[in-house]
C-alpha cells in the first residue's frame, strides 16, 4: 500500500477569519485539525478582509503539527469563487465545504480547485475535501456525497442548521439528530472515509461533553468538532485507543509486514483478510495512541 500520511481528526477547531487573535491562539491548542473560517463566523461586510487574513496567516504561520483546513463560503454564495482562488493558493491540507447536499456540488468544486492547482503548479488532487452535512438533503444524499470524489476524506455533521432544516428543536441529548449522525457515519464507512460528529454547545458542561463524546466514540465516529478550546483535551482523550485496540492494530501491521516480506498477495489475520481500510485503521489507531503519549514500540502482542 502506498505511504499515506495519517492525519488524525479527533478534534476540529474553527478559528474565525475575522479575528487575528483567534487565528494566532488556535495554533497552540491541541486540536488535530485547525479550520480557518471564511463562512459563518465572518460577517458579510468582512468576507474580503477575512480572505486576505486567512491567506496570509496560512502562508506565514501555519502550524506544522496540525491538519490545516480552510472553510469556504457556501456553494451558491457570491463569495465562493474568490474564496477558492485565495484558499487553494494558500495550499492548506484541506478545504471544508459547508452545507453540501449533492455529489455534483462536490465534483464541481473539485474541478474548480483542480483548475487553480494546475495554474499555480500544485499537484492536482492534493488538496483534500471535507463535506459538512447541515441539512436533511445532505443526510439523504450522504452516500453519493461520500463517494463523490477522491478528494473527499471525511464528512462532518453540523447540528445547528440541520435541526433548523428539520424544523426540530435542538436539545442537549441530541435525539433529534441521532438518525442524521448515524446515516452520515454509515455513508462514511461505506466510502472508507472519516466521520466527524456534531459540536456539543454547552462549554461549561464538562460531564455532558464527556457523555456525548463517549457516545460518538461508541457509535464509531473518528472525531468531534469542538466549539471552544476548553473542549479539546477532553474530546482527544476519548479517542485514545484501548490497549486491546492498540495490540490488535500492531498485529494487523505485523501481518502486513510479514506479507510484504514473503511477497504474499493477500494477507490474513485470525482467518480473515486484511484489506486496505483495515490497514489504514490500524495505522490510525497507532497514530491516536502516539498522540495520546502511549508508547507502542516494543509492546508485547
Amino acid at each position: 500500500m502506498a505511504e499515506k500520511t495519517i492525519h488524525l481528526k479527533r478534534t476540529s477547531l474553527y478559528a474565525s477569519g475575522a479575528s487575528p487573535v483567534n487565528m494566532i491562539q488556535a495554533i497552540f491548542y491541541n486540536e488535530d485539525m485547525l479550520i480557518y473560517d471564511l463562512e459563518d463566523s465572518v460577517p458579510a461586510s468582512e468576507k474580503d478582509a477575512a480572505r486576505f487574513l486567512v491567506y496570509n496567516m496560512v502562508k506565514n504561520h501555519r502550524p506544522k503539527d496540525k491538519y490545516v483546513c480552510i472553510r469556504v463560503n457556501g456553494i451558491y454564495s457570491e463569495y465562493l469563487e474568490e474564496d477558492l482562488q485565495a484558499a487553494v493558493r494558500a495550499n492548506p491540507d484541506c478545504i471544508r465545504i459547508p452545507k453540501v447536499e449533492y455529489a455534483r456540488e462536490v465534483q464541481d468544486i473539485s474541478r474548480r480547485i483542480a483548475a487553480i492547482e494546475e495554474k499555480i503548479g500544485l499537484e492536482v488532487g492534493k488538496i483534500e475535501l471535507i463535506c459538512n452535512i447541515e441539512s436533511y438533503m445532505g443526510v439523504i444524499n450522504a452516500m453519493e456525497i461520500a463517494h463523490s470524489d477522491p478528494r473527499v476524506v471525511a464528512m462532518a455533521v453540523s447540528a445547528e442548521d440541520l435541526t433548523a432544516s428539520l424544523k426540530a428543536q435542538r436539545t442537549k441529548k441530541g435525539l433529534e439528530v441521532f438518525y442524521a449522525r448515524n446515516a452520515v457515519l454509515m455513508a462514511c464507512r461505506s466510502a472508507g472515509i472519516d466521520a466527524l460528529d456534531i459540536v456539543f454547545s454547552d462549554i461549561n458542561d464538562k460531564e455532558g461533553l464527556e457523555e456525548d463524546t463517549a457516545l460518538a466514540k461508541n457509535l464509531g465516529f473518528d472525531g468531534k468538532t469542538c466549539i471552544h478550546p476548553r473542549q479539546i483535551d477532553t474530546v482527544n482523550s476519548f479517542f485514545t485507543p484501548s490497549m486491546k485496540e492498540i495490540k490488535y492494530a500492531l498485529r494487523v501491521l505485523q501481518a502486513v509486514e510479514e506479507g510484504k516480506k514473503q511477497h504474499k498477495g493477500a494477507v490474513t489475520l485470525d482467518g480473515g483478510m486484511i484489506d486496505k481500510p483495515m490497514e489504514l485503521r490500524a495505522l490510525t489507531t497507532l497514530a491516536q495512541a502516539k498522540a495520546a503519549g502511549i508508547r507502542t514500540e516494543g509492546m508485547v502482542i
Binding site: 479575528s19 487575528p20 487573535v21 494566532i24 474580503d48 478582509a49 480572505r51 486576505f52 487574513l53 491567506y55 496570509n56 496567516m57 502562508k59 506565514n60 504561520h61 474568490e82 482562488q85 485565495a86 493558493r89 495554474k119 499555480i120
Partner: protein, 99 residues
C-alpha cells in the same frame, strides 16, 4: 491601483490593527502610525505598508494606522484589504502566483 475613496479595514482588537486609507490629493504617500509596539517594530510596520502600497502600484494615499500589536502578516492583510476597498476593485489572486 488608484485610491478613489476613503476606506477602512481591521479592528482595534488586540493583535489587530485598524487602517484608514484615503486619496492624498496628489501629495504622494503619507503614513501616520500609532502603535503599541512603535519602539520595537515601528520601522518594520512602515516598511510593510510602503511595500504593500508599491506592490499594488498605489502612488497617492494617506494611510492612518492604529496598531494593537498585529503581526506583520496581519498588517499586510489589512493593507491589502483596505487598498482594494479604497480602489473599489476586487483583488486578482493570480498576482500571488508570481511570488
Amino acid at each position: 491601483m488608484e485610491i478613489k475613496k476613503p476606506a477602512v479595514a481591521g479592528t482595534l482588537e488586540s493583535s489587530d490593527c485598524q487602517i484608514v486609507i484615503r486619496p492624498n490629493g496628489g501629495e504622494g504617500i503619507e503614513i501616520e502610525l500609532e502603535s503599541d509596539v512603535a519602539v520595537m517594530f515601528g520601522d518594520s510596520i512602515r516598511e510593510t505598508i510602503q511595500n504593500t502600497l508599491e506592490e499594488f502600484g498605489v502612488k497617492d494615499a494617506y494611510v492612518e494606522i492604529r496598531d494593537k500589536g498585529a503581526l506583520d502578516c496581519v498588517i499586510k492583510a489589512r493593507m491589502e484589504c483596505v487598498i482594494c476597498r479604497g480602489a473599489e476593485e476586487k483583488y486578482d489572486w493570480t498576482k500571488e502566483d508570481a511570488r
